[in-house]
């Protein structure tokens, strides 16, 4: 039989329809994925052990020098040391809470009127106003709401630590669904942990400052809506960047398409 020429030997380049498309992943990639999990968690933990104490101490010092926040407390959570800024919470005024509740109710009505289109942004605002209203009413009837300053900040700080440690786990689980390269995986981890780290330290300072001005009334909104939840948007954003890279790469590699 004659030997096949270059043209004959060329791969069949007919692209099957997307309906039938599946992706291939090499064993090396799978192994890489499996190894990434413990490495990712260990790296995140190491970063926290080394950098978290310095970053929180630096931020607390900055706040003490240039803002109304002058108090901080040390913490040690999962052997990770930190310096947590403590807001000077103004005393809770029961009638002040009632005022806030009234204002919230009025704002909800107003937003409800303008939010007839049921669009996401008005619903976000209304959702936050409802939580604020509930908090204010709770404060009015119970005389307290949420946590005192140090406990709240420790809750926030420890939640941030857990979020940073959990990020690699979720990254590995989600990244296992697509054939990412090692570079893409490293990019995902590095960006995710770096941004989450930076965001967490900044959030500690900003929330302490906000609570110094507003008191406990905003604690619920900050923690449950504008706190660690935002980290997951980060996660999705970083994930979307590497997925775009992957998709472009696959588009250039016809081998990714399997012919039925």
């Amino acid at each position: 039989m004659p030997k096949a020429g270059a043209a004959q030997a060329a791969r069949v380049t007919i692209r099957p329809h997307r309906s039938y498309r599946t992706l291939r992943v090499s064993r090396v990639s799978w192994l890489g994925s499996a190894v990434t999990l413990p490495i990712g968690v260990l790296l995140a933990y190491a970063a926290l052990l080394v950098l978290w104490p310095r970053a929180t101490a630096w931020m607390s010092a900055l706040l003490a020098q240039s803002t109304p926040i002058t108090r901080n407390v040390p913490d040690n959570f999962l052997f990770i040391a930190s310096t947590v800024p403590i807001p000077n919470l103004p005393p809770l005024s029961v009638f002040g809470a009632l005022d806030v509740a009234g204002l919230c109710a009025a704002a909800i009505l107003l937003a409800g009127f303008y939010a007839k289109k049921n669009a996401p942004l008005p619903l976000w605002i209304i959702g936050n106003l409802i939580v604020l209203l509930i908090t204010a009413l709770w404060a009015f009837f119970e005389g307290r709401a949420g946590y005192d300053g140090p406990t709240y900040m420790l809750l926030l700080e420890r939640t941030s630590v857990i979020m940073i440690l959990c990020s690699p786990i979720f990254a590995v689980v989600v990244a296992a669904l697509l054939p990412f390269t090692l570079l893409e995986r490293v990019t995902l981890f590095t960006l995710l942990i770096a941004l989450d780290f930076f965001m967490s330290v900044l959030r500690l300072a900003v929330f302490a400052l906000i609570l110094t001005h507003t008191g406990v009334i905003l604690e619920t909104n900050l923690y449950l809506f504008l706190g660690p939840l935002i980290d997951v948007v980060y996660f999705i954003a970083v994930y979307s960047l590497v997925v775009v890279s992957l998709s472009r790469r696959l588009a250039r590699t016809e081998d990714a398409w399997e012919w039925l």
Binding site: H17, R18, L23, L155
Partner: protein, 416 residues
């Protein structure tokens, strides 16, 4: 009190985790697993007779494009009947249809006189005069390709198959943020979710359009509930309870028009939720105890039926979290896991989490549109609230034994 709140929060997080794992497994199967093919390859020179029903209510902007597309089908003309059902349109739909049949006498019109209105009722009335063995249904904003009818009909090669469902592809993606996000949700819902459920021999859903059923089977099942707001989900539940199967054909793609305005999408989602939750009430028990279903199928049935009840359950979980916070008793880890559970849920507009949407888009060959993934988070309160209001409507319907009202999704009619 604290114990009860913590327990409820745990239940909610567990439920979210179950859905998250389910969708992860689905996605994994779709990407790497062996794909179960439908019957697209069936070569048939003498296909069976088929009737295509197109229910229309105020469809003046889209009616002609849909009928044009159907008439362009390569399906043998002597085996194809097209019936446009004018369901008491208040706009020019009826005039347009009559002018249309002047030019194309092979299309038939059925004009509904009332007093009942709604898609399920219109289909029941139309089915009374249908003689074909198989019936396909397209909404009026759909534009099927030449080979689509044959592709769908091929599914009935299998005598166990009672209904078939194709893939819905939005055509007005570029119009707004909403249409682009809906396009991504659709991709996740069909390219991954439906195909994976078909791969696993679970319960792919009949979606009420770009699909069809055996006429004889529907007669056996007693037709559609004329008051159903989600006649597709109702039929899905009945099909599986009676030992029939639904085929999902990922290759049977058809353009549709997705809502371009938030208000319109809100109404659509609310109606779906209302209809779906009524089906949940009437068919959940029957499905999970159906002897013809396997254990995995029963679990899938429960999760499928509960999917429009999840947002109100999630909302109650949030309220529990707020209460625990105000009591000063929110556990550290509780806050984190709740956040993750919620966000992984957040893309459930069409019941597809972020990673499922992303995977579907990769399979579709999309690139930079994936950068919009974080905006699915933006949809979270919108979807949650729309579905919750539909859930409340359904509870009211069940308690008061009242009928739901059919809210028409507004059409724009901007075919590419």
């Amino acid at each position: 009190m604290v114990v009860a709140l913590n327990a409820w929060l745990t239940v909610v997080i567990a439920l979210m985790s179950i859905y998250t794992i389910r969708h992860w497994v689905f996605t994994f199967s779709r990407v790497y697993g062996k794909q179960r093919m439908s019957f697209s390859d069936a070569y048939e020179e003498h296909p069976p007779s088929v009737t295509v029903l197109v229910p229309m209510h105020n469809e003046e902007k889209v009616a002609e494009a849909c009928l044009d597309a159907l008439l362009a089908s390569e399906y043998p003309k002597d085996q194809l009947e097209i019936v446009a059902i004018d369901d008491q349109s208040a706009d020019a739909t009826n005039d347009i249809l009559h002018a249309y049949i002047e030019r194309h006498p092979q299309v038939k019109i059925l004009t509904m006189a009332g007093p009942e209105r709604g898609k399920a009722n219109a289909l029941n009335v139309a089915l009374e005069s249908v003689q074909s063995d198989f019936v396909l249904v397209f909404d009026a904003d759909y534009t099927p390709g030449r080979g689509l009818i044959r592709t769908l009909i091929n599914a009935f090669v299998d005598p166990e198959v009672g209904a078939v469902m194709g893939r819905v592809v939005p055509r007005n993606t570029s119009r707004s943020l909403l249409t682009r996000l809906l396009s991504m949700e659709r991709a996740g819902g069909y390219q991954v979710d439906q195909q994976a459920r078909y791969n696993f021999n679970l319960l792919p859903q009949y979606g009420g359009t770009v699909g069809g059923f055996r006429r004889r089977m529907l007669a056996e099942l007693g037709g559609f509930d004329p008051h159903a707001l989600a006649e597709d989900t109702e039929l899905t539940a009945k099909i599986f309870q009676h030992g029939w199967k639904i085929v999902y054909d990922n290759r049977a793609e058809c353009y549709e028009e997705v809502p371009e305005a938030w208000e319109s999408r809100f109404k659509q989602l609310r109606r779906w939720s209302r209809g779906h939750n009524r089906v949940l009430w009437s068919h959940l028990f029957g499905l999970v105890t159906a002897p013809v279903l396997t254990i995995p199928q029963r679990i899938d049935a429960a999760l499928l039926m509960l999917c429009y009840a999840v947002p109100p359950i999630l909302l109650s979980g949030w309220l529990a979290a707020i209460a625990l916070f105000l009591l000063g008793r929110l556990p550290y880890v509780g806050g984190v896991t709740l956040a993750f559970a919620v966000v992984l849920y957040n893309a459930f507009g069409n019941f597809a989490p972020v990673y499922q949407v992303a995977t579907a888009e990769v399979l579709d060959g999309s690139t930079t549109r994936l950068l919009l993934l974080p905006y699915l988070f933006y949809m979270f309160p919108f979807n949650t609230w729309a579905i919750t209001t539909g859930f409340i409507d359904a509870v009211g319907d069940i308690v008061k034994s009242r009928r739901g009202r059919w809210d028409k999704t507004a059409r724009v009619g901007n075919a590419p």
